[in-house]
Symmetry: D2
């Protein structure tokens, strides 16, 4: 951490600051420049130290120079993490496709969709049993009944499943059923939940919070890794910006950025990332071209409306078409579908 | 909810849509304009219905026209909610001041601060026993020991206390000690926690999420109210924007906006809202001038550095000066300090 | 435009509003719902009317239902606009690559780069003669001397050129030299400049403003089209968000969104969009996969450092490699390079 | 400027970088830490140097430590700038009120409003003759005829006037009529316009761009100051965020931040900052409480609707009431109205 002193700070401010650093267990190396004096803080610094130091007299700015996350950084682990789910490997050469309904609603809906996405080439089945909903008056999921339906769909299709857990208390229950535990965007900084899934013995997919910086996201990953769970992957699902045409703004640049900063696999969720069905396919292909290790896509069963919904809705038919396109783009960037 | 049809949508699309609405239990009133046809959806609509309808063929846009929150709206309850904490009333004519350290660290730190803020005129003592921290390597609070220290400080000073709860499992524990339960910004959409504090028999302060719209904030309030807990107040603490000079951008306009849309009291937290000690006082005064029902302010004890920290840090001395200014501004807008 | 009345608005407010609409030359169609009354405004509405109507008594919300842009919309012109630059067609099946230095600095720098990008497969040469610079103390471009160097580079390589114009007064001058006039992000709402380039007889590329919504961008396009210049293309170059790892957040979803809303060709600029050289290639490929009609890429000559800069910098060598990748991804989505 | 080297960068990368710095005319001071090596760049650095240095091999981050603006900084000029307009002083103890219609529409409208705001206590009359409009189909102002009406209103009321200039070519014309030249938010980075108003001999008010950081805003101020025009004031008018309830988010914290970083007076525009008439008064008071040197407020004449518009519109009557409140809040923070 570097402390940039205010232009014209006093000798007294300097010596007080150095004394304070010493008391806190740090060493301070002073470097006087033409315009400013900079103090290098030596020792095991931590993110919140910035806030403490910034309030001290004579200080103009405090600049962290070491990244606050360790276990999730590529500096700590240069080789890619590979998450194993049955025979599947996520984070290697292959691009995986996770597909299914947003929420598990009925046995018929789930099984029909599971068979359809399997037939189209999906590798993993998604479906929410516990649903975060902005309003208390909306559908909040079937709970354990939903988990049982997912289990049934797995047995029928052989597809591993991923489903969300919303609260620490449910981690044990959800772990019993699911192959991959999903932590949703709204829970990216639910730190006690992160601790809990860090103790679980199942792979985890951590979605990026709606207004989380890449650094904060990797710090949340750090919570899970620090508890010993190294079977972790990340999922970009769009960030909140001023643009209202899309529900969120899919941050495609986060995909190669994560690849550079971290060894963790990165999945893209263009369904939540755009909120508009006609944007799902182009953004799915963009994510693969940018280096995503996988995609998570919502497939809308509505079999009775499928024929009418036309190109803008991701019906079974459109999903099938999309999987073929994903395969083509994957090959064009030197990868292949799982 | 209004469905705006695509320019040139077909008769078939119209009739399919109306049939679908009927199946879903709604009535659809068609209104043909010169350029567009608009369908009014009649029935008990809900926010997520927008997503469903937008994917249908022929639909250009779906516009909600009823607010999705009820119990928190001023239309539902025109008169102001008044939250009672001992002899204090929050949401009435008086402006309350909540003050104390960010985290409870030691008995000495807490008691000294408690006495100082009480002497300066604060009405409620704040202090975190469970601390959300971006990094797993930072201080995460003293837990129940912190709650016990808060209890001790309350006994010594007579000040009621407010402290944060981070997970549903701890609601019962925190409720046993605190006078007001705080739900932090990162948990504004931790829906199971909202349910739990909604069942608690203690007043709640719900902070706005870093990227939450005012509507989403009121929907989270709705979770708490819907469980029967009507002793609820809101707290604006800054939103995330592109500006990096401040940690967050304090949305002062949210204060009068909440006052117009809702009957719930609104508190302002300029300490988290700005992240810079020298901005706390001006923003505190701004919040009061804009109609805030109270302020929550972090006071930094650092007794050994208090004399040196100068005007940019909120030492006991600066806090005392600020309370006097708050009183003056409150009077200038027709209110007074509690 | 629809006017949503406040719950419980009075009969007087309704009749006053209808009378006012009549005076303003509109007809108002009242539609009473269970919870709200909605008034459809019939006539030639315009965007600012929303602001006027929202202030009227009894009004809760005003919802525009027709898009405020016409000439730039796909409803107005269903078939794609094709911009012709010499033998090149932008907006058709082929993907064009625009490349060159950020600013024209010296004859040697420009010519070397022009030859290199031509050899690598670029179709158009870029280079700034008038440079917008955040600080008055930075390099602001060579002006007309830069234009002359661009002309020379065109003669030597045969590549058409694109360069930015910053102020209405220079449109005539820049038009004399350039093949495509660029309007930069900071000038997207420099309306008098838009008028001027709308009168020019050269193709125009309009970059998206840093905080412009897609709708505002299309309205700025409308300025140019309304003056009679239909040889117009758009360029996504990243929007401003809270994320600080990248200089801007490249909004890849804007590419298919523009394709749906408008007939204008859409180019992507991953160099400005990311601000980090190692993100340029993945984002360039993502843009093509998402449907971009072209790319604009900064190529850094630094021949003496080229060997050392390694994979993260877009040297001539890296650019050459990228062009090959662009070709492969273009083919995978059914297109080809120009 | 500090260069933070990548963890494990090579000796060769270090020596190449130092050699390159030397070639560019800088000296580099190496400081090896436990985890990272940091190089201090000595010499006259400039903002864009960061971009150049960041692309070099071995570099992890580049941190500017001197502020890129000089003339606008408080370090350069500790005492407040006072802008003189006739007998008025802006930036001193007194708070000035600028009021008037958004656009000059008719003689009657302008004169009526001018007399009303003068009677209510306003110090300066505002009114747009050249209007930036998002759509080419909206009203764009009366041009010079509007300036003549403003001149007439000044003669009738004695109020000095402020009006916007949109393009360099009009600076001479507008200067002939106006007392203060306004540069609007959309033109904050219209650098040629900034140069031109920097050469004008009239005071200037520079509005903050919709997505401009405080630093960028001060750099734009620097353009004007660098041309010799020191009679400059700034105006906060709201920034663009994800919140849609308000048209912009008024950044009240920018007011004390500017006061700390710069000597320039700071005005607040709550009309554009909120976009909702019922938020204007609370935000105007908040701005004064936070230390604003003045307010700019749109007053809506609509005399025939004034009685009906009710409390949410800033009619003459509401403006009069607001001026009294401004006076009270100003006194409560140790200032007074001009």
């Amino acid at each position: 951490m570097l402390i940039v002193m205010r232009h014209g700070c006093s000798e007294k401010e300097m010596s007080d600051l150095l004394e304070r650093l010493t008391k806190m267990g740090f060493a301070g190396h002073v470097s006087k420049g033409v315009e400013r004096t900079v103090i290098g803080v030596v020792g095991r610094t931590y993110p919140d130290l910035k806030d403490v130091l910034e309030t001290l007299p004579g200080v103009d700015d405090v600049v962290p120079i070491t990244k606050p996350y360790k276990l999730s950084s590529r500096e700590f682990q240069p080789q890619d993490t590979r998450v194993k789910v049955g025979d599947l490997t996520i984070g290697g050469e292959e691009v995986v496709v996770i597909a299914g309904p947003c929420a598990v609603e009925t046995e018929e809906q789930l099984l029909k969709t599971a068979h359809a996405v399997k037939a189209a080439g999906a590798n993993i089945l998604r479906g929410g049993a516990f649903k975060p909903s902005t309003s208390p008056y909306s559908f909040r999921g079937l709970g354990e009944d939903g988990l049982k339906l997912l289990d049934e769909a797995r047995k029928e299709t052989g597809l591993p499943i991923i489903t969300e857990v919303m609260t620490p208390h449910d981690v044990e229950l959800v772990s019993r059923y699911t192959d991959i535990i999903q932590v949703g965007a709204r829970n990216m900084q639910n730190f006690i939940l992160l601790d809990e899934v860090g103790k679980a013995r199942k792979p985890v997919m951590l979605k990026r919070g709606m207004s989380a910086t890449i650094q904060e996201w990797l710090l949340s990953a750090e919570y899970i890794l620090a508890q010993g769970n190294r079977q972790l992957m990340l999922c970009e699902r769009g960030i909140r910006t001023f643009e209202t045409h899309t529900r969120n703004t899919m941050d495609i640049s986060a995909i190669p950025a994560i690849e550079r900063l971290s060894h963790l696999p990165i999945i893209a969720d263009p369904s939540h990332g755009t909120g508009k069905w006609y944007l799902v396919a182009p953004l799915a292909l963009a994510a693969v071209a940018a280096g995503a290790d996988g995609l998570m896509i919502e497939v809308h069963p509505s079999p009775d409306y499928a024929l009418k919904d036309g190109p803008q809705s991701l019906t079974f038919e459109n999903f099938e078409r999309l999987v073929a396109q994903i395969g083509a783009v994957a090959v064009s960037v030197g990868r292949k579908m799982a």
